[in-house]
């Protein structure tokens, strides 16, 4: 049997190679994609069905729970008018830039906190305190300090994401089995090469969790900033779209906005973090199948 697999398996590639149990690797590619896509799609379909039923039962008046179709019409209108591209582009590119900036600041910060007791005691609690400040609280100050422009928005995003990423990295580093840095030291790791070759990769699985939370923070902060600051200079992002719906008390627009923001969240998770996570965990033999 395994001999047979040797032939068949060779055409398979990608991250799934190790994931699928030996016997199922004989299924077609289409089948495997289906197996992977079905659960999330099923969950979404179920949700929409419940929503439709709730709505049809007129359990709540229309202005509390819009018809799925009305929300869909909103979205469809954005799609046909092409506006949806601007919405996504404005928000996503900002979020990505903000997140990248946050990474640049947060990684050295997290390393410093995790590795030095003085820094940990001095700055650690302040970072956690910063993390607990809602983004909305910063928006007015940011507008005051930077004016109504992208700088204000990035400031809000940074304040949201940096502490979260730094904390995530810190907690990842804290969990590194102490034997690994010791081994590193014995193998000749200096301070920097120890971080580069031992600590960072060792902390990666935990850090990934922190990154995910950091991304959530930066995306949420961005949405909050966009929700509060509206100006043609800032372009029209998803947050502004949602804000307009709220201002007009238009519940179907509000739902459409929430849905679009949600779709971006799910998309980033599925396209970026899930594959990353899977490959990191799999390389270390930490897959779900293992237990």
């Amino acid at each position: 049997m395994p001999q047979l697999d040797l032939q068949e398996g060779s055409v398979e590639a990608g991250l799934d190679a190790l994931d699928t149990p030996v016997h199922s690797s004989q299924g077609s590619l289409a089948r495997r994609i289906a197996a992977r896509a079905f659960p999330p799609i099923g969950a979404v379909v179920l949700l929409v069905a419940v929503w439709q039923v709730l709505w049809a039962a007129a359990f709540w008046p229309e202005f509390k729970l819009p018809a799925p179709l009305a929300v869909w019409a909103q979205i469809w209108q954005l799609v046909t008018s092409g506006e949806i591209l601007e919405l996504f582009w404005v928000s996503v590119h900002r979020a990505v830039i903000g997140f990248a900036l946050s990474l640049l600041i947060a990684v050295p910060l997290g390393l410093a906190i995790a590795n030095s007791r003085v820094v940990r005691r001095g700055i650690g609690p302040l970072v956690s305190g910063l993390q607990s400040l809602p983004s909305v609280a910063w928006v007015p100050a940011a507008i005051l300090w930077f004016g109504l422009n992208d700088r204000a928005i990035y400031w809000v995003v940074l304040l949201g994401a940096v502490p979260s990423i730094a904390n995530g990295l810190m907690s990842g580093l804290d969990q590194v089995p102490p034997i690994l840095p010791r081994v590193g030291k014995a193998l000749g790791a200096g301070r920097l090469s120890g971080i580069r070759y031992i600590l960072l990769p060792a902390a990666l699985p935990g850090f990934l969790g922190g990154l995910k939370q950091g991304w959530a923070f930066s995306w949420r902060s961005l949405m909050a900033a966009e929700l509060i600051a509206t100006s043609p200079d800032l372009g029209q992002g998803l947050g502004q779209f949602l804000h307009n719906g709220m201002s007009l008390s238009d519940i179907s627009m509000v739902f459409a906005g929430i849905l679009l923001i949600f779709v971006v969240g799910v998309g980033i998770e599925l396209l970026v973090f899930r594959p990353l996570e899977n490959s990191v965990l799999r390389a270390r033999g930490l897959t779900v199948t293992a237990r």
Partner: protein
């Protein structure tokens, strides 16, 4: 070549606790698949003490994992009629958040043993592995050999539950190089304790070791595995043979098997 079970020991049952039928195990799939075991036929009789020998990486741990139900074979069939086997893993794998005593108590806790009895049992088992008084140490505060002994005590604790679904079934103890990190004297003592426990409880034991002398001294039967893929090459009823002769014979055969593999 089947072992004869001695009549004078307390044998619970005559059903074999475990029986392998042409068992194979491959890891991964495709070009990179590793065939760890192939066509393994093996039976451990109730109350029997079987030692498993083989080159490093030949599949001994894999075989034990299959018996313990921690992995599924990719071909063949395993018949397990014992109660849940107790396992001493090759790595100590202690729970880092529990003290030594906590680790030993863990299987008792999960079996619902009341606190006082758990405590007493754990203290007794730690004493047995010569770690009396170190129950409150954390795994990272113990030396390698101490950790191995805690793991041993823990496995012994997990055999004591014979009240649940496993009651009446023959019991089975799987040990993966349990004494490898111990000094000669401690090892002697623990070998003696193991034999005493084996005689007293009538449990069957499947024991992996690299020490041929140890295998011959402890086991009734010695099973030699080849590597890539792991197959049963030969078995000896060492009870029947004088110790020195057995050790020599097995050593020669082991050398032959391993070097033939290395040459291939």
């Amino acid at each position: 070549m089947t072992a004869t079970v001695e009549a004078d020991r307390a044998v619970v049952d005559s059903v074999s606790p475990v029986r392998f039928h042409q068992v194979g195990k491959a890891f991964g799939s495709g070009r990179s698949a590793v065939v760890a075991l192939e066509g393994v036929d093996l039976e451990v009789a109730a109350g029997e003490f079987v030692c498993l020998l083989g080159a490093s990486g030949c599949g001994k741990t894999t075989l034990l994992n299959l018996v313990a139900g921690l992995d599924q074979p990719t071909s063949g069939r395993i018949e397990l009629s014992s109660s849940r086997p107790a396992v001493v893993f090759q790595e100590a794998a202690l729970m880092p958040w529990l003290t030594a005593a906590g680790n030993v108590e863990l299987p008792l806790r999960m079996a619902g043993v009341p606190k006082a009895r758990r405590r007493a049992k754990a203290a007794e088992l730690l004493e047995l592995v010569r770690l009396g008084g170190l129950g409150d140490k954390r795994p990272h505060e113990l030396s390698g050999g101490m950790r191995q002994r805690v793991a041993l005590a823990r496995a012994l604790a997990s055999t004591t539950d014979n009240t649940g679904s496993g009651a009446g079934k023959p019991s089975l103890l799987l040990m993966d190089e349990p004494f490898s990190a111990l000094d000669a004297i401690t090892r002697d003592v623990l070998q003696g304790e193991l034999l005493r426990i084996w005689r007293a409880t009538g449990t069957a034991i499947l024991f992996v070791t690299h020490d041929v002398r140890e295998a011959v001294r402890l086991g009734q039967r010695v099973v030699l595995l080849s590597s890539r893929p792991g197959r049963v090459v030969r078995q000896w009823d060492v009870d029947q043979l004088p110790e020195a002769e057995a050790v020599d014979e097995i050593n020669t055969e082991l050398r032959r098997v391993i070097s033939s593999h290395a040459a291939a």
